[in-house]
């Protein structure tokens, strides 16, 4: 058995190498040294999970054809979440969804992903395998393959288990022009579902504040939802997924980019009662809590009903709602009519969201 194992295209001689001890093994500096150990790690964990023709070629990059005359989108996202596994997902699935969504929020159809892993010495191989398999499943479900990648190992104490950076490319269909700078007074603001699920699910697992909850992360790829919305109206002006900083921060970003103000209706913003209760307990505001499977769309008023109907007909947009309007405002305030009957500013998040003590 001297021949190269052509079934995987790898460079490790099968039969002379003991397979990785996934159950008890840990990442050591050798896995990042570029030698046989590194090759074996790639072969048995990454290639085994992501397997596709581009990776199988064993190159340092991947070549692919692009549709002539169409605009391309590229987006990149780093993932550093703690804990790595949380109700409803893990860093692997998240790293696929995050980048697929960033590409989709440009109105593009995501095509390919690249992934880069920074592994900390001592990280259990079993956890790595679980993460990579979850990532591969997410990529398969989304129909967006990981076609090139890289791994590095850092000494213990210099990483947090695993950091994953992913980059995605996609193409924008003709006639679509989506940008955070496109919102105009009179436009309608749509939201695809409940806010705060992801952040609360992750918080519930943090060592210092563990609490029992049935809430799971909403982590999901949104490109098919986007495609359905664009099919309903290619005139959609803005798409964005309210991740870190939550809905409030996303809307402030868009207001600034577009040079407009916004007026929201608190009663129209969907929040799960469990999320609301957890936030109340922790002194947090669900409008500032992260989401990983929701989007905000800003559309011309006359298209709002059609887009909203398309959202509600899609499983990722079943709870979609019309939450406010874009208005003229040179100060770019995002304001909100409260359920209580008052009006207030929904400001940028300042620093980290910290719990109040009183």
């Amino acid at each position: 058995m001297n021949a190269r194992d052509n079934s995987t295209g790898g460079t490790v001689r099968a039969g002379y190498v003991r397979p990785l001890d996934i159950r008890n093994g840990r990442i050591d500096m050798g896995h990042g040294a570029g030698g046989r150990a590194a090759a074996q790690l790639i072969e048995e964990i990454f290639l085994a999970a992501f397997d596709n023709p581009w990776l199988r070629q064993g190159n340092d990059g991947a070549a692919f054809a692009i549709p002539a005359g169409q605009r391309m989108v590229m987006a990149t996202d780093g993932h550093v979440i703690s804990p790595l596994f949380f109700p409803g997902g893990d860093i692997g699935a998240l790293s696929v969804h995050g980048t697929v969504n960033d590409v989709a929020m440009m109105g593009a159809t995501p095509l390919y992903l690249a992934a880069s892993f920074i592994l900390e010495e001592g990280f259990p191989l079993a956890d790595l395998k679980r993460i990579v398999q979850s990532m591969a499943a997410a990529a398969r479900d989304a129909g967006v393959p990981v076609i090139t990648g890289d791994t590095k190992v850092v000494e213990q104490g210099k990483g947090d288990g695993v950091f994953i950076s992913t980059t995605g490319v996609g193409v924008v269909p003709h006639g679509v022009d989506v940008s955070g700078a496109n919102a105009r007074p009179g436009d309608v603001i749509l939201l695809s579902g409940t806010v705060g699920d992801h952040g609360v699910a992750v918080l519930s697992q943090r060592e210092s504040i563990e609490f029992e909850t049935t809430i799971t992360s909403d982590t999901a790829a949104l490109h098919t939802l986007v495609a359905a919305m664009l099919a309903a109206s290619p005139a959609i002006r803005v798409l964005r997924d309210p991740t870190r900083g939550g809905l409030a921060t996303t809307l402030n970003e868009i207001a600034g980019q577009s040079g407009v103000g916004m007026l929201l209706d608190e009663a129209a913003i969907p929040v799960k009662p469990e999320v609301d209760a957890a936030c109340e307990l922790l002194g947090l505001d669900p409008l500032y809590v992260a989401n990983e499977g929701k989007l905000v769309a800003i559309v011309p008023a006359e298209q709002a009903d059609a887009v909203l109907a398309a959202m509600r007909a899609h499983p990722r947009g079943a709870d979609a709602a019309r939450i406010g309007v874009v208005q003229e405002d040179t100060h770019h305030f995002v304001q909100m009519n409260t359920r209580f009957g008052g009006r207030r500013v929904v400001d940028w998040l300042s620093g980290e969201q910290l719990p109040r003590i009183c």
Partner: protein, 380 residues
């Protein structure tokens, strides 16, 4: 949310608002101080002020725990982390309070200090148990609400023989702060701060009861209505205050009867007095030195007292000259009276402590209310 939404009902709010407009005498001004940051937060976040008649004015009080924490005290905690290699645990809000040398606990953490945010004093005990080779100090701040948990943590540490745990005690007392305001020249002599009554503390009163306020009502002829932290609680309390003023009464009334009684939580009070004793004087940010207004750890628990354990001395540090936090905390000025509000001093770079916590008068106005300072067109 059951038990919460009932107290945020907009329909009820409008009704109380109507009643207030009907009962408030248009010929006079009403000025009430909401003592607690929790009330300040509720008023700003829910837009309560818009539902009040124009002649009912709310003045923010000093009851925001991080706002009254003086720079010198935060400096002590930072020194412990940076110079003594101590793990400092504290509540989230405390992390951003500006200290000397342009530092805060958040910034000291970025410089390598081992500073950890905890949700409770018990979590600090866990940190101490998990790090037996390190000194762990709980930087304890807050009014009577957060004091009993600190007392329990010290008692438990003693029981467990936890040798690496101590507390930097900065707990302060509500009644002394109210007395201080009522005795201030602005209120007594100059009348520049007309206070017709107080919206009394919510969570603090659960611990100390409504009894301690009877003195203010009698001695200073100021009505006190203890109110919960939900917006309807605040509105109802304001209505009760207007009625007392109209009827010339000055009593302690309890809007928050679902949680507060006259005696308070006697078990908690007992633990607190077992562990703590009065400090003869304590510096408050904004109010200056206030006699008998804070607690320190009793000598019997000296080993858990970080000040004794590390031989810490207190060095007062003056606030930034342009900062009006002091006057704002005494009710003399409003956030917008401060020259650096929203320009030099913002939530991202707070100069004064009122800009730190969302309970602080400046931060609350900046985050929720500043659009009212600027005319903004609202579409129908």
């Amino acid at each position: 949310m059951k038990y919460i939404d009932e107290f945020r009902d907009g329909e009820v709010a409008r009704k109380i608002g109507e009643r207030l407009r009907g009962e408030a005498d248009p010929a006079r001004q009403y000025s009430f101080m909401e003592f607690c940051g929790g009330h300040t937060h509720a008023i700003s976040r829910y837009g309560v002020r818009e539902l009040l008649p124009p002649n009912v004015r709310m003045i923010h009080g000093p009851g925001c725990p991080v706002c009254v924490l003086p720079i010198g005290r935060v400096d002590m905690a930072i020194k412990l982390a940076l110079e003594r290699g101590v793990i400092v645990c504290t509540y989230g809000d405390t992390m951003r309070v500006p200290a000397s040398d342009n530092l805060s606990l958040t910034k000291a953490k970025a410089r390598g200090g081992d500073i950890r945010m905890v949700y409770s004093a018990t979590d600090a005990l866990t940190v101490a148990r998990d790090n037996p080779g390190r000194e762990v100090v709980f930087f304890a701040i807050g009014f009577e609400t957060t004091t009993p948990p600190t007392a329990l943590a010290i008692l438990r540490a003693q029981r467990e023989g936890l040798a690496n745990f101590s507390v930097l005690c900065c707990h302060v007392l509500t009644p002394s702060a109210i007395t201080h305001i009522l005795e201030s020249p602005e209120v007594r002599r100059y009348g520049t701060v007309p206070i017709d009554g107080f919206v009394g503390p919510a969570h603090v009163s659960i611990v100390i009861g409504s009894g301690p306020y009877e003195h203010f009502a009698e001695e200073y002829r100021k009505p006190v209505v203890i109110a919960g932290f939900e917006p309807l609680d605040v509105m109802q309390a304001i209505l009760m205050l207007v009625r007392q003023v109209n009827e010339g009464r000055a009593h302690v009334e309890n809007e928050f009867s679902r949680a507060v009684d006259r005696d308070g939580n006697l078990g908690a009070q007992q633990k607190v007095s077992e562990v703590f004793e009065l400090r003869p004087t304590f510096e408050w940010r904004g109010l200056g030195e206030v006699p008998y207004s804070a607690l320190k750890i009793r000598p019997a628990f000296a080993q858990f007292d970080a000040e004794r354990r590390f031989g810490l001395g207190y060095t007062p540090v003056a606030d930034n000259k342009a900062c009006e936090c002091g006057a704002i905390l005494r009710g003399v000025k409003q956030p917008t009276d401060c020259k650096i509000f929203g320009t030099v001093c913002t939530p991202e770079n707070p100069v004064g402590s009122c800009m730190v916590s969302s309970e602080g008068a400046c931060a609350a106005h900046y985050a929720y209310g500043r659009f009212k300072d600027i005319p903004v067109k609202v579409m129908a």
